[in-house]
């Protein structure tokens, strides 16, 4: 049984289709391993009993034409799941049971997958280490007391630790790619508008995107194919022709032009990251593609822009948590007092901090100086990419400026925590797709990732580049099962 959880999604699908494994076998194996993995704290809510029932039901009448036939899957607790508690990692939603399903998870269940449970994340997806969750921090399967990254930390930990074959996360400023990089897995942040935001607890609506996280590029392509769809229920969902990403996947990237942006060589970046990047450039060349030096001159302004835009949108989105219609309510002497106490007791420190930043930048007299300024700089950042894509097909950068850090190491310094997202944030601001693939280890043996950024709607191209590079890199994740007794 233990072998099952080591298999990739593609292998599991094949084995179920060939009747070498049943959905019950597979579901049992992942439940068993998840139950032994309490110390990772990857789950907020499990749905194991009903998962097993669904697997048995699937096996009685298996529909093997589906893309995810009887595959068990845990998802980030930011996706609303009908009749299953959805917390967004927050006390304020600790008792919230959605009466509807998010489009992205609906797409997954429609292809035959089975919900295992809901995975831990930073509160309202605000964090880079999964330490802001009301339900406690998540341990990385890579090493004890190491952060898995965030905000999709539970998702990264669960995939790397083999508690779920694949999963979905959300990425507002790097929340899929950074934890993927920290835990040695693959994570794709799709083009803004390709995956529906309907039923995802909102953080910053002009930046939020759902995306797949997997052990390898092919699995990632398959899951992306399932979740990407046009959805009239999301007004920013875009109706474009979607590929069969996994079927069309090819490692032939000969003649592709890959840009290397000099501005990503930031001060204080460890030598190991620079070396990894150079290795990546060599792999690109080995695949028969060409690298071209490019410039994205406004890169260093992306993070300050993000820390205006994202909190501003968050402060508006999170205004709905008032203790009236759903969620936590504190006792108050009057209505206003009730609102203020509910939000003070219900939101954690980081969320309050961001609501305060957002409220301030949108407040009377400051709007032009901050919010409007940020929107203008956002335009410049997007223009940088538009200009670069006249010369290149994709861009290669490191995923993060360092490997994973220890739990507690950055909690007292918000700005140093924010700097983690320096290479991922520009991609969200420009609405582009980006994928992080594991590419090596640092001297401590911790995984390091490389990021491939594509043109809008060009997921197939970056998946292909990632697929070709993956073959050359031949990365092996060092999972010691340290948490299993």
């Amino acid at each position: 049984m233990s072998d099952i959880t080591k298999q990739s999604l593609t292998e599991l699908v094949e084995n179920i289709k060939n009747k070498k494994l049943s959905s019950t076998d597979v579901t049992k194996a992942f439940i068993d391993r998840s139950e032994k993995s309490g110390e990772l704290n990857a789950y907020i809510t499990n749905d194991f009993t009903s998962a097993l029932d669904k697997a048995k039901k699937f096996d009685q009448k298996p529909n093997l034409d589906l893309k995810l036939p009887g595959i068990p899957m845990a998802v980030k607790d930011l996706f609303c799941t009908k009749n299953i508690k959805t917390t967004a990692g927050s006390k304020i939603l600790n008792n919230f049971v959605p009466t509807y399903e998010s489009t992205v998870t609906e797409n997954i269940w429609n292809e035959g997958a089975i919900l295992l449970g809901k995975l831990n994340c930073d509160e309202f997806a605000m964090g880079s280490s999964n330490e802001t969750s009301f339900f406690g921090n998540v341990q990385s399967p890579i090493d004890k007391n190491l952060v898995p990254g965030g905000s999709s930390g539970g998702s990264a930990s669960a995939v790397a630790g083999q508690l779920t074959p694949v999963t979905i996360g959300t990425d507002t400023g790097g929340s899929i790619r950074q934890p993927a990089s920290f835990t040695g897995i693959v994570g794709l942040k799709p083009t803004y508008g390709s995956c529906s935001r309907y039923g995802i607890v909102a953080f910053a609506s002009s930046l939020d995107q759902a995306g797949p996280m997997a052990q390898n590029v092919k699995d990632c392509a398959l899951l992306h194919e399932v979740i990407s769809s046009y959805d009239p229920k999301d007004s920013t969902s875009i109706d474009f022709k979607r590929n069969h990403y996994s079927k069309e996947l090819t490692n032939n990237i000969k003649g592709k032009k890959i840009g290397i942006p000099k501005e990503y060589r930031v001060d204080g970046m460890p030598k190991e990251i620079e070396a990894l990047w150079q290795k990546g450039i060599q792999y690109i060349k080995d695949c028969g593609a060409e690298t071209i030096d490019i410039s994205l001159p406004n890169t260093s302004y992306a993070l300050p822009t993000y820390y205006i835009v994202a909190p501003a949108e968050a402060s508006s989105n999170l205004a709905r948590y008032d203790g009236v219609k759903y969620g936590y309510r504190a006792k108050g002497e009057n209505l206003i007092d009730m609102y203020e106490k509910t939000r003070s007791e219900g939101f954690g420190t980081e969320v309050q901090r961001r609501i305060m930043i957002g409220t301030y930048v949108l407040s009377s007299g400051y709007y032009d100086a901050y919010y409007l300024k940020a929107q203008k700089v956002r335009k410049l950042i997007k223009n940088d990419f538009d200009e670069a894509y006249k010369k290149v097909d994709a861009i290669l950068t490191p995923s993060t400026p360092s490997s994973a850090f220890k739990i507690g190491e950055k909690t007292n310094d918000p700005v140093s925590m924010y700097l983690n997202d320096i290479f991922t944030v520009p991609v969200n601001l420009a609405g582009l797709p980006g994928i992080s693939i594991p590419a090596g280890h640092d001297s401590k043996g911790y995984p390091l990732g490389l990021q491939i950024i594509g043109k809008a709607f060009d997921e197939q191209n970056i998946l292909n580049i990632a697929y070709a590079m993956e073959e050359k890199i031949n990365f092996k994740n060092k999972i010691t099962d340290w948490w299993i007794k």
Binding site: T99, G193, P232, N298, P304, K325, L335, D337, K379, L380
Partner: protein
Amino acid sequence: MSIDLKTIKHISKLARISVDEQRAEKLAGDLNSIFDFIEKLNELKTDNVEPLTSIAETSLKLRSDEVKSKNIREQIIKNSPQDNEDYFVVPKVIE
């Protein structure tokens, strides 16, 4: 620039989050260091730049104005912290 305690009190009022003295001081410190970092944007001249208001460059699709969810009152009320039959209950607002 510097965000003082008075400003913190003002923002917390706007954000409807009660903040005690101790939290207010910590928040002032945090916000000041974050805004020091944000000030970097002032290096850029943006007078003639159009603000980017929407990343998805498509116009909104029109649809017919039909009711699709019917009789979902129970579902809407289901998660309320306090309700009375078909109403949400809040602390008294009229004397």
